[in-house]
C-alpha cells in the first residue's frame, strides 16, 4: 500500500508498521443541545502521513477536531496519541502532547508582529525579561527546517492570506507540534497557493510530522492525502486510500446520494443593462496605497448572472460596498437601470430595487437579538408592506415573514423568534427569502451559500435561476468555483482591484480560472 502522488523523497509511507498510529479516535460521541454532532466517530491516522477528513458542512468534522485539540471533551469515547491514551482538559494539554491546530479563520492579533503572535503563551526568556532576540532566532530556525517564508517582524495586519497561514503553521511548530491539524486550509487559497501549501505539508511529513487536514474539496484531497476518512452525519462512513477511489465516489460517500450538479440551461440574458459600472475607482485606505478598485467597468443585464471570481482581498468587498453605497468612489460612475447612483444614498438604492445578500450574515445581514419579522424588514423598512408612511406596519411585516418562512423552508417555530435562535443555514435561507420576496431588480449576492449545507445550497441555486428567468440581474461574488461556474452566464476575474479576465463558464477549467485569479494569466499549466 503506497500513497498516491507523493514525491519520491517524501518518506514516511503509510502503513509503516514499526510505529503505532499517531492518532486514534475511538467511538467518539459529542452532544450539543438539539443535535448529536459526533455519533460514534472512529479515526486512525498513521504516523508521518497526510490524512484527510472529508465531509460536508455540518457533518461533524470541526467538532471532532475540537475534541482532538482539546477545546472540549467528548461525552464518550477515547483518544489515543502515539499509543498512549489521553484526556485533554484544554488546548494546553493537547499542545503538550504535540498536537497543534491551524484554524480556518486565523487566530492572529493584527496589531502584533509575526513573532509576537507565534510565541504568545510560550514566550522564551524568564518572567522578568522577554527574550525577543531568541524568539526571532527560533523562528528563523523553524523556517530553515520547514520552509514557511515570512518576516518575523512584519505586522500581521500587513500580511497576505497565504503568509498569515504560514504564521499559523509556525505557531504550532514552535510549540513542538508533531501532529498538525489544518481546518479547511485551502478555503481562501487559489490552486497555485494550494500547491505551495501542499509542498509545505510534504516537507513537514518529510521531517516526521503527521498532518491531518479537514476539507470538502475532494480533488485537492485526492492530490495530496495518503489516506482519507469520510464522515457523514456524525459518523465515520468510510476509510479509503486515494488510489482506490474517484472524486465522484468520494462525494457520494460524503452526501449519501447523488450530488446535485450545476447545470447550464438556456440563456435568459436580455439586452437591457440593469447595473453598470463605468471606470469605477476606489482609493486605497492610506495615502500612497494602490487603489482598492482600479478602473473597473462591467455590465449586468436583466436575466443575467455575472460571476466575479478572485482571491479574497482583491477588491470584492469594495466592489460590493460601492454598489450598495457605503463606499465612496474616487472616480467613475455606477448606474442602476440607467440612473446614475452618484448622489443616491444607500436607502434610496435599496428602495429602487437593489437587493443584497451580504458575505457575512451575522455582521451585515441580520440583527441577531431581534425577532425574525424585524429582520425581514431590514433593507425594506421604508415602504409597504413593512411601513406605512412614518409608521411601522407590524401586521404587514408579520405576514411577509410567515410567507418567507414557508416558501424558503426556514426551520423555526415562528416569526417572533430571535434570529440568533436559527442555525446558520436557516439564517441564510431567511436572508435569501427576504431579498427575493421583495422582488429586486438587481441582486448583489456575496458568497450566498457560504456555510450552508449541500441541500440548502442547491435550493438557493434553483431560486436564483428561477429569478433570473424572470429578469433578475445578479452580480455574484463567490469563492466557490463550482458555484461560479455553475451559475454564471459571464465570468469575470478580479485581481488587485482590476477586472483582468472575462471567461466562458462553460469551457473554463478550475486550473485556468485559478491561474487568472493569481495573475499567472494562464501562461503556465497548473500542476497536476
Amino acid at each position: 500500500m503506497t500513497s498516491i502522488g507523493a514525491d519520491p523523497g517524501a518518506g514516511g509511507s503509510v502503513g509503516a508498521s514499526s510505529r503505532p498510529p499517531a492518532i486514534q479516535l475511538i467511538d467518539i460521541v459529542k452532544r450539543f443541545p438539539g443535535v448529536v454532532a459526533n455519533d460514534g466517530v472512529n479515526l486512525t491516522v498513521a504516523h508521518g502521513s497526510i490524512h484527510a477528513i472529508v465531509g460536508e458542512n455540518g457533518a461533524g468534522k470541526s467538532t471532532l477536531m475540537k475534541t482532538l485539540y482539546g477545546a472540549h471533551q467528548p461525552d464518550e469515547g477515547r483518544i489515543v496519541v502515539d499509543g498512549v491514551e489521553r484526556t485533554f482538559k484544554g488546548p494546553r494539554d493537547a499542545i503538550e502532547v504535540g498536537i497543534g491546530m491551524v484554524f480556518q479563520h486565523f487566530m492572529l492579533a493584527d496589531n502584533f508582529t509575526v513573532w509576537e503572535n507565534v510565541v504568545l503563551g510560550e514566550e522564551p526568556g524568564n518572567p522578568v525579561r522577554l527574550d525577543i532576540g531568541g524568539a526571532r532566532t527560533k523562528i528563523r530556525e523553524l523556517q530553515a527546517s520547514y520552509g514557511l517564508d515570512v518576516d518575523p517582524d512584519a505586522l500581521v495586519a500587513d500580511l497576505g492570506v497565504g503568509e498569515k497561514q504560514r504564521v499559523e503553521i509556525l505557531k504550532v511548530l514552535y510549540r513542538g507540534a508533531r501532529i498538525v491539524i489544518l481546518d479547511e486550509p485551502t478555503a481562501v487559497l487559489v490552486p497555485q497557493e494550494v500547491d505551495a501549501l501542499f509542498d509545505s505539508l510534504r516537507e513537514l511529513t518529510g521531517e516526521g510530522v503527521t498532518v491531518i487536514f479537514i476539507s470538502h474539496k475532494l480533488d485537492e484531497v485526492l492530490k495530496v492525502a495518503d489516506a482519507i476518512t469520510v464522515i457523514r452525519a456524525g459518523r465515520t462512513v468510510a476509510e479509503v486510500l486515494p488510489s482506490s477511489v474517484t472524486a465522484h465516489q468520494l462525494a457520494e460517500l460524503m452526501v449519501g446520494s447523488e450530488l446535485p450538479t450545476p447545470e447550464t440551461t438556456e440563456s435568459t440574458v436580455t439586452d437591457v443593462v440593469a447595473l453598470e459600472l463605468d471606470h469605477v475607482t476606489v482609493p486605497g485606505e492610506h495615502p500612497g496605497e494602490r487603489p482598492r478598485l482600479d478602473d473597473v467597468s462591467l455590465k449586468v443585464r436583466k436575466g443575467e448572472i455575472v460571476g466575479i471570481a478572485g482571491v479574497e482581498g482583491n477588491g470584492q468587498t469594495e466592489l460590493v460596498n460601492a454598489i450598495i453605497g457605503v463606499q465612496p468612489l474616487a472616480g467613475g460612475r455606477i448606474a442602476m437601470e440607467g440612473e446614475d447612483l452618484a448622489d443616491v444614498p444607500t436607502r434610496r438604492r435599496r428602495e429602487q430595487g437593489l437587493g443584497y445578500i451580504p458575505q457575512d450574515r451575522h455582521k451585515d445581514g441580520l440583527v441577531l437579538d431581534a425577532p425574525l419579522w424585524e429582520n425581514v424588514m431590514l433593507g425594506y423598512q421604508t415602504a409597504p408592506p413593512f411601513a406605512k408612511g412614518i409608521w411601522v406596519d407590524r401586521a404587514g411585516a408579520h405576514d411577509r415573514t410567515v410567507r418567507v418562512i414557508a416558501d424558503y423552508d426556514v426551520r423555526t417555530p415562528g416569526p417572533d423568534v430571535a434570529a440568533l435562535a436559527l442555525s446558520g443555514g436557516n439564517q441564510q435561507k431567511l436572508i435569501v427569502g427576504r431579498e427575493m420576496e421583495s422582488e429586486p431588480k438587481v441582486l448583489v449576492a456575496a458568497h450566498p451559500t457560504r456555510g450552508i449545507d449541500v441541500g440548502a445550497q442547491a435550493a438557493v441555486w434553483d431560486i436564483m435561476r428561477e429569478a433570473r428567468k424572470k429578469g433578475l440581474a445578479v452580480l455574484l461574488i463567490s469563492a466557490d468555483l463550482e458555484e461560479l461556474i455553475g451559475l454564471s452566464d459571464t465570468l469575470l476575474v478580479i485581481l488587485r482591484g482590476r477586472i483582468v479576465a472575462q471567461l466562458d463558464p462553460a469551457t473554463v477549467t478550475p486550473a485556468e480560472l485559478g491561474s487568472y485569479m493569481t495573475g499567472a494569466t494562464g501562461a503556465e499549466e497548473g500542476r497536476p
Binding site: A71, G90, P91, R92, I95, M101, F103, H105, M107, L108, A109, D110, N111, F112, E116, N117, V119, L120, G121, E122, E123, G125, P127, V128, R129, L130, I132, G160, V161, G162, E163, K171, V190, Q192, E193, A196, P287, G288, E289, R290, V311, G313, N314, R496, T518, G519
Partner: protein, 434 residues
C-alpha cells in the same frame, strides 16, 4: 508566494517621522514645545510660563491624572474599558483620608490603592465574569462609589476634630520631600540667568527635580516600569493579547479571564493611588476632591494613544494648564499666546502633509487664539472674558472651564489618528471567536 505586492511608499511626512526612534521624536517634540513656550513667555512678559515653580506645580497636579490614565492603560490594553476610574479614585481619596489620619502618609497611599482595588474587583466581576457592558458597569461603579464614600465619611468623620461629613481630619504627618542634590541647584542657577530658551529648559528641569514628594517619585517611576512590563515581558505580551485578540490568546492557553481581572485590579489600584496623592497634596480628604480627574485621565489615555509615554505627556499637559491657572493672569494670557503659536505650528505641519483643510481650520483657530490674547476688557467683544470692566482678572468660571475645553480641543484633533487596542471594549466570553 504572495499574490499582491505593495508599491514602494512615497515619503510622506508621517513616514519620515517613523524612521526615527520613538524617544527621539518625543524628545524633539518636547524641545520644540519648550521653544514655543519660551517665545510666549518673552512676548507676553510672563516668566511664570517657564518657571520651575510652574513646572513643579504642573508635575504635582499631573500625578493624579497620570495615575488615573495609567490605570486606564492597563485595563484597556487588556480589552476592558474602565469608565469607573473616577469612582475608584474617589474611593481612594476616602481610604487615604481615613488611613492617613490614623497612620500617616504612607498608610494613606497604600490604603488609597486598596480602596481603588476593591472597586476594580467589582468592575472586573461585572464585565469579565458576567459580561456586563463595560461603560454601563463603569457608570454604575461611579455612582456606587460616591454613595459609599459619603456613607463612610458620615460614619467615621463626623464628630471628629476638624472634620465633618465632607472633610476628614488632617493626615497625620507630612510626606517627606526632597530635591535631587546638585542638579536642582545647577538648574536653579541656569534658570536665574534669564537666557532665552536655556533658562526655560532649566526651569523645567529644576521643576521636576525639586521638592519632590515620594508619592510623586513613585508615580513617575511607574511609567517606565509600565512600558517595560507591557512590552518587554511575557506577562505584558499576554495582557496586550487579551486586548487585541482574546480568542487567539485563549487558543494558545493564555488565561484571558484571569489576565483581565489582574489588569482591571491594577487599574483600580492605580486610580486609588492617584486619589491618595490628591489627599496628600490637600492634607485631608474632601468630598468631590477628584473633580473629574478620573475622566481627565481617560482623556490623557486617548490622547496618549494608549502608550505610557503618551499618557504621561497628556497628564503633564493637563497638569500644566491647571498649574498656570493658579499662578497669575499674565501666565494665563501667556498660555493663550502659546496656544496660538502651537496652533500655527500644527497648521504648518498639516500643510506639509498636504491636508489643507485641517491646516486652514487650525490656522483659523490660531488667529482666534491670538485675538483672545490681545483682548482687553474694554474691547467690545471681550467684556465677557474678564470679571469686570476694569479688571484684568479673567473670570474664574472661564478659568475653571479651560482644562475641559483644552481636553475637548485636543480630542477633536487627535481622535482620528489613534489606534486603540483592537478588542478594547469587547465583551468577550470564553469560546467566542471575534
Amino acid at each position: 508566494m504572495s499574490t499582491t505586492t505593495l508599491a514602494p511608499s512615497p515619503a510622506t511626512p508621517a513616514r519620515v517621522l517613523k524612521t526615527f526612534p520613538r524617544w527621539a521624536v518625543m524628545g524633539f517634540g518636547g524641545l520644540f514645545v519648550m521653544f514655543l513656550l519660551s517665545i510666549a513667555a518673552e512676548v507676553a512678559d510672563a516668566p511664570d510660563l517657564t518657571s520651575s515653580g510652574a513646572f513643579g506645580a504642573a508635575l504635582r497636579l499631573a500625578v493624579p491624572i497620570g495615575m488615573a490614565g495609567l490605570g486606564g492603560l492597563y485595563a484597556e490594553r487588556a480589552g476592558v474599558v474602565n469608565i469607573g476610574l473616577e469612582g475608584m479614585m474617589t474611593m481612594g481619596t476616602w481610604m487615604a483620608g481615613w488611613a492617613g489620619w490614623h497612620w500617616g502618609p504612607w498608610a494613606a497611599l497604600v490604603a488609597g490603592a486598596i480602596g481603588g482595588l476593591m472597586f476594580g474587583v467589582l468592575h472586573a466581576l461585572a464585565t469579565v465574569t458576567f459580561g456586563v457592558n463595560h461603560i454601563v458597569s463603569g457608570v454604575a461603579i461611579n455612582i456606587l462609589a460616591v454613595g459609599v464614600t459619603r456613607f463612610l465619611a458620615e460614619q467615621l468623620f463626623t464628630g471628629e476634630q476638624g472634620a465633618s461629613a465632607s472633610l476628614s481630619p488632617p493626615v497625620s504627618g507630612d510626606m517627606p520631600q526632597f530635591s535631587v542634590p546638585l542638579l536642582s541647584d545647577l538648574f536653579g542657577w541656569l534658570e536665574d540667568q534669564d537666557w532665552f530658551f536655556i533658562s526655560d529648559v532649566a526651569g523645567f528641569l529644576k521643576g521636576i527635580t525639586t521638592d519632590l514628594s515620594w508619592a510623586t517619585v513613585i508615580a513617575m517611576v511607574l511609567f517606565p516600569i509600565t512600558g517595560y512590563l507591557l512590552w518587554r515581558t511575557a506577562f505584558g505580551l499576554r495582557l496586550r493579547s487579551c486586548g487585541e485578540r482574546p480568542s487567539a490568546a485563549d487558543s494558545l492557553g493564555v488565561p484571558v479571564y484571569r489576565m483581565k481581572y489582574v489588569a482591571v485590579m491594577i487599574s483600580g489600584s492605580l486610580a486609588g493611588f492617584g486619589g491618595a496623592t490628591l489627599v496628600l497634596q490637600a492634607g485631608q480628604f474632601r468630598e468631590g476632591q477628584t473633580a473629574n480627574r478620573g475622566f481627565l485621565g481617560l482623556a490623557a489615555l486617548i490622547f496618549g494613544n494608549w502608550r505610557p509615554g503618551g499618557v504621561a505627556a497628556g497628564a503633564g499637559l493637563f497638569g500644566y494648564a491647571d498649574a498656570l491657572q493658579l499662578r497669575s493672569d499674565e501666565a494665563v494670557r501667556g498660555l493663550v499666546l502659546f496656544g496660538a503659536l502651537a496652533l500655527v505650528s500644527a497648521a504648518l505641519f498639516f500643510l506639509w502633509q498636504r491636508r489643507t483643510r485641517t491646516a486652514a481650520i487650525l490656522g483659523g483657530l490660531a488667529v482666534v487664539a491670538y485675538l483672545a490674547y490681545l483682548n482687553r476688557p474694554d474691547w467690545f467683544w471681550g467684556a465677557w472674558l474678564y470679571e469686570s470692566a476694569d479688571s484684568l482678572t479673567i473670570d474664574t468660571r472661564i478659568v475653571f472651564m479651560t482644562p475641559y475645553l483644552v481636553t475637548l480641543l485636543v480630542l477633536s484633533f487627535a481622535s482620528q489618528r489613534l489606534r486603540m487596542p483592537a478588542a478594547d471594549g469587547l465583551v468577550w466570553r470564553k469560546g467566542q471567536v471575534e
